[in-house]
């Protein structure tokens, strides 16, 4: 694992260090490969981009998208924005939370499924919406969520 992190971070730095405004694309690429941005590598990123470690830390923590811990195998993001609220997102969220046995920002007991809020997936005419590992799903009923979750769980080889 450690070697993987070394390689992924180092290679991404090389690709983006001279790109104008390259920090966000760099962080995106690292997160895409590793699932998160390793906090102990921020110093190296900062040095390569001629920034202070504080600046890089500031960027990583400003944006909701970046995470500094490994993600769960399945990320369930339930939209909490107005349009989905108007179509019962709250009840859907309660169902999802009960199904996974965790609260918002928590994880299922086995740690494999994480529940997060998201604020708009752009599917507002088909609310309520959610995404599972970034794949959007709309007009989600509790029953449909159960089917989607079962399919996604199978697909991740659980």
């Amino acid at each position: 694992m450690q070697n993987t992190i070394e390689d992924a971070v180092g290679a991404s730095i090389e690709r983006h260090r001279t790109r104008p405004g390259g920090l966000l694309p760099l962080l995106h690429e690292i997160q895409e490969h590793l699932g998160f941005v390793p906090p102990d590598r921020l110093g190296e990123i900062a040095q390569a981009l001629n920034l202070s470690r504080a600046e890089v830390h500031g960027v990583v923590t400003f944006y909701h998208h970046f995470r500094t811990t490994p993600p769960p195998a399945l990320r369930v993001q339930v939209c909490q924005a107005e349009s989905c609220q108007s179509m019962g997102a709250e009840a859907l969220t309660r169902h999802v939370a009960a199904k996974l046995g965790c609260e918002m920002h928590g994880r299922s007991a086995d740690g494999r499924i994480g529940l997060e809020p998201v604020y708009c997936l752009g599917l507002c005419a088909q609310s309520p919406a959610l995404s599972i590992n970034d794949e959007p799903h709309a007009r989600v009923t509790p029953q449909r969520f159960d089917r989607l979750l079962a399919a996604a769980t199978r697909a991740t080889g659980r």
Binding site: P20, T61, H64, H65, C120, A125, Q126, S127
Partner: protein
């Protein structure tokens, strides 16, 4: 049937999110099993989202539509004669919607910016060119930069992202700035709940945005453009990247674009889940690789924008409207609309509504027409109570205000905004105090933190609303909330803090009964309920 029939299954996320990929596979498999020759094209979406997945079949008299089609419907459709649209059994199928061009939801629209959405294959440049694509650039290539800017100014086009600033004036400022490097930036950080026009356009017709940005580049002297897309739109990012590659390979990006003698290239950059980055100066900071903190203006981005260089920054719909303005001429475009709101408005009808979707129509239509006639009322079948227009920072309008024509000035006159044109309908179960609290909480979570009225005001706003709902010292707390909103409105650096008072005050003014007006203390069900909170 000898020749293969063309069948269209959309690849827009709105269709994918309700199973379009599985459906395309099922149609293909069923056709093979039956030995029926057909060719599946993955088109964009028409924006009739309640009908997605909307399958279309090419017939001699145009395209025939079926929707919403589930995988489970495929066998029965083929048994009824699919894909032959003229098979008697098929026309009588309950999912048959007839000729799509005749569909009243589409037929009553004036599709200018979204003319190709749902018609073409968004990955096909030849398809784009065959449908009037790149005619705007062809004309622009024969004009001087000043003439292009004059044409855009004359069209009356105003920024469709929400601020409604005249596009031509913005371009002129950037054009007249002297600098070796200039940029065009597309704001595709469509974070407003209720909005999906940018997403639909990028996924269903990405080339029109590329063409619009290219014209902006040659008009202002910019040689590089960036499209900043929110990370919640991975399909849009992929569609744009594919289209940019195709355009570059065909000579529409890079050196001497489209024979104009000028250079222009594009890059897609992804946001990272920050709502405030939809504000143009925060977006520029983010593009520079920094925290999305709002900049004070002046200097205007048109003079000192990205990396300190003159920058034209426009919304997706604005830039995507430029090609038709150039192709058909300013007069054609400005003939649509009313007053100072010229051209078409892209309405996004969403929330608790039966027929939600994209409606491009001339300015001047009313909410009542949109929600009742087009939308068919609420999805729940209950009475509609409020519509929030213009995103999370837009006002809630009660049905009594639904006859105000949708144009920028008429809306401003009633203390509301058109914003990006989104309409989110709520039925009579909506708790307006809770929605007001949500608006403040959202602002507290998403504030960039630079200015005090927004950073602190939103936090205090949540606390004050909680006290009002709990019935503690209510009259004074309401006065305090009004005072606080006034401070945020007048003292914030950008629209985040400056407009959060719109939903809050409109909820309070139009629906005072939800704010515990009886002054009861700790009424069950009216207590401030904990909202799923977002981690910082």
């Amino acid at each position: 049937m000898s020749a293969a029939t063309t069948v269209y299954v959309p690849c827009d996320s709105a269709a994918l999110a309700v199973g379009a990929d599985a459906l395309a596979h099922a149609i293909d498999a069923e056709a093979r099993a039956r030995g029926v020759p057909l060719r599946i094209v993955r088109n964009g979406s028409r924006g009739l989202f309640w009908l997605e997945p909307l399958v279309e079949v090419a017939g001699a008299d145009g395209r025939h539509a079926f929707g919403p089609v589930d995988v489970a419907d495929v066998g029965a459709l083929f048994a009824a004669g699919f894909p032959d649209p003229h098979a008697a059994g098929l026309a009588a199928h309950p999912l048959a919607r007839g000729r799509i061009d005749e569909h009243p939801y589409l037929k009553r629209q004036q599709r200018l910016t979204f003319a190709r959405a749902g018609i073409t294959d968004p990955r096909s440049l030849p398809d784009y060119v065959a449908h009037e694509g790149y005619q705007g650039l062809a004309r622009a290539a024969t004009m001087t930069p000043e003439e292009i800017v004059a044409e855009v100014t004359a069209s009356g086009l105003r920024g469709r992202g929400g601020a409604a600033f005249p596009t031509g004036i913005k371009w002129q400022t950037a054009q007249r700035a002297t600098a070796a490097t200039k940029y065009v930036v597309c704001n595709a950080d469509e974070g407003d709940s209720g909005s999906f026009a940018d997403r639909l356009l990028m996924e269903s017709d990405p080339f029109v945005l590329i063409e619009g940005m290219t014209i902006a580049g040659i008009a202002t002297g910019a040689t590089m453009g960036y499209i900043y897309v929110r990370s919640e739109y991975p399909h849009a990012v992929r569609a744009l990247e594919a289209a940019i590659r195709a355009a570059r390979d065909a000579g529409y990006l890079g050196r001497d674009v489209g024979g104009s003698g000028r250079d222009f290239d594009l890059d897609v950059r992804m946001g990272a889940g920050s709502y405030v980055c939809g504000e143009e100066t925060a977006l520029l900071e983010s593009l520079e690789g920094k925290r999305g903190v709002v900049r004070a203006k002046p200097p205007l981005p048109a003079l000192q924008g990205l990396f300190g260089k003159p920058t034209v920054i426009n919304n997706v719909v604005t830039l995507a409207t430029v090609p038709i303005v150039l192709a058909r001429g300013a007069a054609f475009y400005r003939d649509f609309g009313v007053g100072r709101s010229r051209g078409t408005l892209t309405v996004q009808l969403a929330g608790n509504v039966r027929h939600g979707g994209l409606i491009e129509t001339a300015f001047g239509i009313t909410l009542r027409e949109l929600i009742d006639d087009w939308g068919g009322g609420t999805a729940s079948g209950r009475a509609a109570r409020a519509a929030q227009v213009g995103g999370p920072l837009g006002a809630y309008l009660p049905p009594a205000q639904w006859d105000v024509p949708l144009d920028y000035e008429a809306y401003a006159a009633v203390g509301a905004v058109l914003g990006h044109g989104s309409i989110v309908v709520h039925d009579d179960r909506a708790d307006m105090a809770r929605l007001a609290r949500y608006a403040m909480q959202f602002c507290a979570d998403e504030s960039c933190g630079k200015c005090t009225p927004c950073r602190i005001g939103a936090v205090r706003g949540v606390e004050v609303i909680d006290r009002i709902i709990a019935g503690r010292d209510r009259p004074r707390q309401i006065a305090l909330l009004r005072d606080l909103c006034d401070t945020m409105l007048s003292g914030s650096l950008c629209a985040m803090g400056g407009m959060t008072p719109y939903p809050v005050m409109s909820a309070l003014n139009h629906f005072p009964e939800d704010f515990n007006t009886e002054g009861k203390t700790d009424v069950p069900g009216h207590r401030a309920s904990p909202h799923p909170h977002r981690a910082a």
